[in-house]
Each structure stands twice: as C-alpha cells, then as structure tokens.
C-alpha cells in the first residue's frame, strides 16, 4: 500500500537562515509547504515596559536595541515622538544631521538585506562580504559622529548628541560617489544572474491588496506596487525640502523586493547629496531637561525606517516617566504575511522569502 505522509519540521530557533532566533513550524508534503506557523518571542526583552519605568531620555539607548542594524532610525523615530509630545523645536542643523544619518542607515540596511538574501540563496558569503565592506565604511562615519558603530544613541529628543566632527562632511562627500558606484556594481553583477532570477521571480508573491490588508509597509509594500512612503505621505523632519522619488515595482515577488531595495538606495544617495550640499551651520540641539516632563497627553509619531513604518506611541501623565511607551515595529508587522507568501512553495523558498522581507528579530520580539 502506497501512502504519503506530511512531515513537520521545526526550522529554528537555531537555524542559519532565520536571521536570528526565529522559528517556523513547517508542514511539508515532500518539499512543498502545506502549512507554516511562525513562532517568535525568543528575544523578548520587555523593552516597552522597561522604558515606562525610565525617564524619556533614558529610553533612547533602548531604541538602539530594537532593530540593531538601524539604530539611528530608531533613535530618530523616538526623538520625533518625544518632540511631538513635549512640543520641542529642533534646530535646522540637527534636522539635516538626522536626515543624513537616517539615509545612511537606510543604505546600511538595504545593503545587508541584499547581501543576506544572496546568502540565503546559497551564494557562499561573497555578496554579503562585499555588503559588509561598504557597511563598515558607513559605520566608520557613525563612529566618528557618535562614538559607537552600531548602538549609536546619537539622535536625541531636541537634536543630536553632539555636533558633527569637522572631518565628517568631507569624508561623506567622498563616500557618496563610492556608494553610488557600489549600487551600480550590485546591479551589474547580481541583477541578471540567471539562477538568482530563477529563484526569485514569481516566488513569494504578495498581491498589493493583501499587502495593504496586512498593513505591510516599507520596501515590501512598495515592491508590490503601492506607492506609499511616510516621507512623502506625511513628511516629518525636513523631508519635504528634498527632491526624491518613491520608486515602486510591479511584480511583488522576491526579485521585485530586491530591485526595490536597490532603487531606494539610489534615492537615499540623492537625498544625501542634497543634504551634504545644503547643511547649515548653527546649533545642533535644543536644551532638553534630563527629567523631561511633557504635558499630559499622547502622541504618535512615525518615520519611514529602512524596514517600513516605524512608529512610537507615547502617553504622558505629566510625570517624568512615560505612562505608556508603545512601539510599532516594521519587522513584526511585515512578518505577518509570511505564511500567505510561502504556501505552495518549496522549503528552499521559505528561506528566500524570509530574507526578502528583511526582518530583525530584535525588532520583532522587542
């Protein structure tokens, strides 16, 4: 008697390609995915609750640890939220510095996303090592400004922690053409790889309507063809003063998400070019008391973080500690459509699709 059996595989929490301690319970029929159950929470550190027992400024370093690849963006989102809550004005130079840092962070994130996507595809670390090489150069800049490479803790409510050192802008000016060249290089070497296309085109299709229904944001949403970017939809900081496009793709598959990230890197470099040219002199921060007491009320601020919409919802009861400190992590919400994208594909595709969503487990679990 012939019969077939489905097998259940626990992918993770220790698995080379789950990008952290993420676990997927796969039900397989041969190699085809019949069911997928994402499990997370292995990295839950209770950052929200911890932050509620700290002052507003003490919570800034916690935001570094949300999405540890993009610490600057996290600082930025939190700072915008606190400023909105307490009504703090930010000097223009600080805004420029913030934009520069946020766009550099986007570059770092997208580089790594593309590099690790190829790692998941089995390209033996070569693309990811090149991505890391360029990332190191940007991290050098971060270190120059903030003294730290990953946990920057640089963008604070009221401005930034310190003014840019004198050698920062010349260095950045030199970097921009170099990075543009790097993006061109990636396009040239990777985009037309036949095996990559075979693995990525049509895989992990996320229809535009479903993406919106799942409230997916960021490159994943735009790759599905929805033109939505918080920088344009609800401009924060000084993004309305820059000229840039919101690129979108049509196909909504892994390949489209890859192309989307490259396009966004180009746009980020465009913004960086303008910012470096126009950055004014002046104050780099408004004085904010260390025991900040915002008036009673609530504020939700959001920014376009590299992975999607990153929001902070703060409720103040007038005391130095936030009454509620809520974070909307893009990784967690983008992850919610994973099952829909994976069903019917093969085991190998799960890894690719997960890589193309680009999550950080620290951001998922908080």
């Amino acid at each position: 008697m012939l019969k077939t059996e489905t097998i259940t595989i626990n992918m993770g929490p220790q698995h080379p390609s789950t990008h952290g301690v993420f676990r997927m319970v796969l039900t397989l029929n041969g190699e085809t995915i019949v069911d997928l159950k994402p499990m997370f929470g292995y990295l839950h550190r209770g950052l929200e609750k911890t932050s509620e027992s700290r002052t507003y400024l003490q919570a800034v370093p916690f935001t570094d640890r949300l999405d540890y690849i993009c610490s600057m963006s996290n600082n930025f989102a939190y700072a915008v939220a606190v400023e909105k809550l307490a009504g703090i004005e930010v000097p223009l130079r600080a805004e420029y510095i913030r934009v520069i840092m946020a766009e550099l962070t986007r570059l770092v994130n997208h580089m790594l996303a593309v590099g690790f996507l190829f790692n998941d595809l089995g390209a033996w670390y070569t693309p990811v090592v090149y991505a890391f090489r360029e990332r190191e150069r940007i991290l050098d800049l971060f270190e120059m400004a903030s003294g730290s490479r990953m946990m920057c803790n640089y963008i604070r409510p009221g401005g930034v922690a310190a003014d840019l050192p004198a050698e920062f802008l010349p260095q950045l000016r030199k970097m921009i053409p170099h990075l543009e060249n790097f993006v061109r290089e990636i396009r040239f070497y990777l985009s037309d790889n036949e095996i990559f296309k075979a693995r990525a085109v049509g895989v992990g299709f996320l229809p535009a309507d479903m993406a919106v229904a799942y409230s997916i944001t960021g490159p994943v949403l735009r790759a599905s063809g929805v033109k939505y970017d918080v920088r344009k939809a609800e401009p924060y900081s000084i993004y309305d003063q820059f000229e840039f496009d919101v690129p979108t793709q049509v196909a909504g598959d892994v390949y489209a998400r890859y192309l989307q990230r490259l396009d966004e890197m180009d746009e980020s470099l465009k913004i960086l070019r303008q910012a470096v040219e126009r950055i004014p002199d002046g104050e780099y921060a408004t004085k904010v008391p260390s025991r900040l007491r915002p008036p009673k009320g609530e504020a939700y601020a959001r920014i376009e973080a590299p992975k999607g919409e990153l929001g902070f919802y703060l409720v103040s009861d007038g005391s130095p500690n936030p009454y509620r400190w809520r974070n909307r992590p893009p990784s967690l919400i983008n992850l919610s459509a994973l099952r829909e994208m994976c069903l019917g594909h093969k085991v190998a595709d799960v890894v690719t699709i997960l890589g193309s969503i680009d999550i950080t487990l620290a951001d998922v679990d908080r």
Binding site: I7, T8, I9, H15, P16, S17, L28, G30, E31, F118, N119, D120, L121, G122, A123, W124, Y125, T126, V129, Y130, R133, N193, E194, I195, F196, K197, A198, R199, V201, G202, F205, P207, A208, D209, M210, V212, S224, G225, V226, K227, T248, Q249, V250, A251, G252, D253, Y255, A256, K346, V347, A348, D349, V351
Partner: protein
C-alpha cells in the same frame, strides 16, 4: 625533459629492480601492488589537504577577504589543524539512530572514491589499471555514493538529514543520465572505453574543442555529482543546514569531507582526461600538464562556488531532464552522424565545433525564452493585484 617526463616511472622501475634483488617474483608483484594502492590513498589525503586550503583561499579572495593566515606561513597548515580538530572531537551517535547503518555510511562513502583513482591516467604510462571498460567503471563507482548518502540520511533519524537524502537520490540519479550520454559522446569519438585510449585519441584536438556541448554537459553534471554550487542542495546550509550528514561529527564527518574532496579531484581528473587531452600537450612533463589542467578545472569549480546562488530542487531536476538530457542526446546523435561521415581531422573538428556551438546557442535561447515567459507571468500577476487595489487604473 625526457627524464622529468618519465620521472615517476623510472622511480618505480628502479624500486622494482631493488625488490627483485632479494624477493621472489610473486612477492615483488604483491609489494608493488600494495604500494601502488597505498600511494593512491595517500594521494587522496594529500589532495584533500591541498584543496581544502585552496578552496578556502580562493573563496576568501573572491569575497575580498584574506582567508586562513594564522596556522603557519600563509596559513598553509590550516588543513592540518582542521584534521587534528576533527580527530579530537567527540563522536556523537544520536540515540534513535540506526547504529550500524549510521556507522557504515562514512566508511562506505570513501571506498568508491579511492577506487576511482585506479583508472585515472596521471601521466604518460602512469595509470593504476588500464581497464578496457574504465568509463563504465567510473559510472558504476560513481553510483555507490548515492547509496551511502541515503544510508546516512535515513540512519541519522533527523528530518533535515532525511530531506537531504531525498534530494540526494533525486539529484544524483537525474544527473547520472546526461553525464553518461556525454561520456558516450566521447567514447564514440575516441572509439575506446579505456581512459588511456581516450587521452591518446586527443593527440591532435582535445575533445572540449570537438564537442563543446558534451564538455559543458559533463562539467555541469560533474558539479551536480559533487554536490557543489549551484547544485549543492543536498547540503544546502541555508535551508536544510547540512543535509544528510547533519548528525555526523568528528572523524565520521571528516570521512564525508574526505570523500567530497577526493571526488572533486576525481571529477576534475575525468574532465581533464575526457575533454582536455589529459596529460597530453608539449614541453612540460606529462604528469605536470595533468596536474595543471586539474587545478585549473578545480579553480573554475571553486570560482563558481564562490559566486553563484543555488538552484531549487524542482528547477535542478527540470534543468537535468528538460535541458541537459535533450541537449546531450541531440549532441550524441550529431556526433555519431558526423563521425560516421567524416574522417578524423580538421574538417570533422570544424564541423562538429560549429554545429555544437549552434546547438548550445539554441538551447540557451530556448531557456532564455522560458525565463522571459516566467517574468512576464510574475509581472502580470502583480499588475492584476495593483489593479484590484487601486480600482480601474494603475497608479
């Protein structure tokens, strides 16, 4: 030059003379045979040490890294350090494993790998056994590792290992077919199945020039047989972690590792023998030519490994059955026809070379067409979804 060319044979003859001075003839033969076998096994191990080092260095350089540089000058003792580490590691057998199969698999995997060396012509007159059916022997011995991988995967009682074993059987058996057809093409051209005879038949033109299609097909099938990128799905580290040998540790794992690199040398040696004129070509000693060609082929494989992503299981099987098998069959037909009509020489080589290139170009064009269709389908699906979301007009 002549001296260098015959160097190893002269040493063998001298040693045989030495033995004959004090041993009876049967003992001389026995000693020489045993020594020959030992030499091949030692060669296998040296190959592993050398090529693991080379692989790490090449992949590192391609990835803009330095690679091993701590153990000894330029890290050349890295492979030895690794070997010592392997030997001292704890040897774990999973509780629910099928003990005997689990134990047997790493031993069985290495035997065919070493046996294959017997028919490899390392230089002029330097071959273990000049078997008249050497090509059949290679195919037969190449089939045994499939069994051992299934043994290992099943006995480990691990789902990743089982998935790896499934993939192994599907992949290796599929790629055996185009490989054999490519071999058959060469046999047709050479008129012999002996590896020595095949090398001698390439005195004027290497078969890579005569039938590039068979060369490419054999190269790809060889990569698949070796489980190397882009066909490394059996051990895909980013998907099923390590595949069939996931539960193996210590020396048992090292056995699989040894077999892999011994096979690497073997496949590169077969490509050299079948398509790159083996030890032929002037000026340098024959064994050196053989070695150079093998290293170049292996370098090519490492380069591919360092740069290419891997196929998915269905694509990999589709590539074997829908692309390689038809192409190699058409090529076999073509070669049979031309070889019947034309005498060996410039005309035959030219006709075959041009027609082979045309065949290759045609196959690539068809595959590109299929890829374009798939891209269009993906785009259409995306467009339909965008229309659904935005209403009638797109953006």
């Amino acid at each position: 030059m002549q001296v260098l060319d015959d160097l190893w044979i002269r040493i063998a003859v001298w040693f045989r003379g030495l033995l004959e001075s004090f041993l009876p003839p049967w003992a001389v033969q026995l000693t020489m045979d045993v020594l020959g076998i030992l030499l091949l096994i030692v060669l296998g191990i040296v190959v592993v040490l050398a090529f693991t080092y080379m692989e790490r260095k090449v992949i590192a350089r391609v990835g803009d890294r330095i690679g091993p540089n701590r153990a000894g000058p330029f890290g050349i003792f890295q492979a030895i350090a690794d070997a010592i580490k392997m030997l001292t590691k704890e040897d774990v057998t999973p509780t629910n494993a099928d003990r005997w199969l689990f134990l047997a698999a790493p031993i069985v995997v290495i035997i065919p790998a070493v046996l294959l060396y017997a028919v490899l012509p390392f230089g002029r007159g330097m071959v273990g056994v000049d078997l008249n059916i050497a090509v059949v022997f290679v195919v037969a011995m190449g089939g045994i590792p499939i069994l051992t991988m299934l043994m290992a995967g099943w006995a480990s009682n691990n789902k990743y290992a089982l998935l790896g074993a499934f993939r192994t059987v599907a992949q290796l058996i599929s790629y055996e077919v185009p490989m054999v057809v490519a071999l058959l093409t060469v046999v047709l051209l050479a008129g012999t199945m002996s590896t020595v005879g095949i090398v001698e038949a390439q005195a004027s033109f290497p078969f890579a020039l005569v039938t590039p299609v068979a060369f490419v097909v054999y190269m790809l099938a060889g990569l698949a047989e070796l489980n190397r990128t882009p066909f490394d799905l059996l051990e895909a580290d980013s998907e099923i972690v390590a595949g069939y040998f996931i539960e193996y540790s210590g020396m048992k794992f090292a056995m699989f590792f040894l077999a892999e690199y011994i096979n690497l040398f073997m496949v590169a040696g077969m490509i050299t023998t079948l398509f790159l004129a083996g030890w032929q070509w002037p000026i340098l000693p024959s064994w050196l030519w053989f070695l150079i060609k093998v290293v170049v082929v292996i370098f090519l494989m490492m380069w591919i490994r360092a740069t290419f992503p891997r196929f998915r299981i269905d694509q990999m099987l589709g590539f074997a059955w829908k692309a390689l098998v038809p192409v190699s069959l058409v090529n076999l037909f073509l070669v049979a026809l031309v070889a019947k009509v034309l005498e060996p020489g410039w005309a035959r080589t030219g006709v075959l070379f041009v027609s082979n290139l045309a065949l290759l170009a045609g196959a690539i064009a068809i595959m590109a067409q299929v890829a374009r269709k798939r891209e269009e389908r993906a785009r259409a699906a995306g467009e339909a979804a965008i229309k659904r979301y935005y209403g009638s007009e797109v953006r």
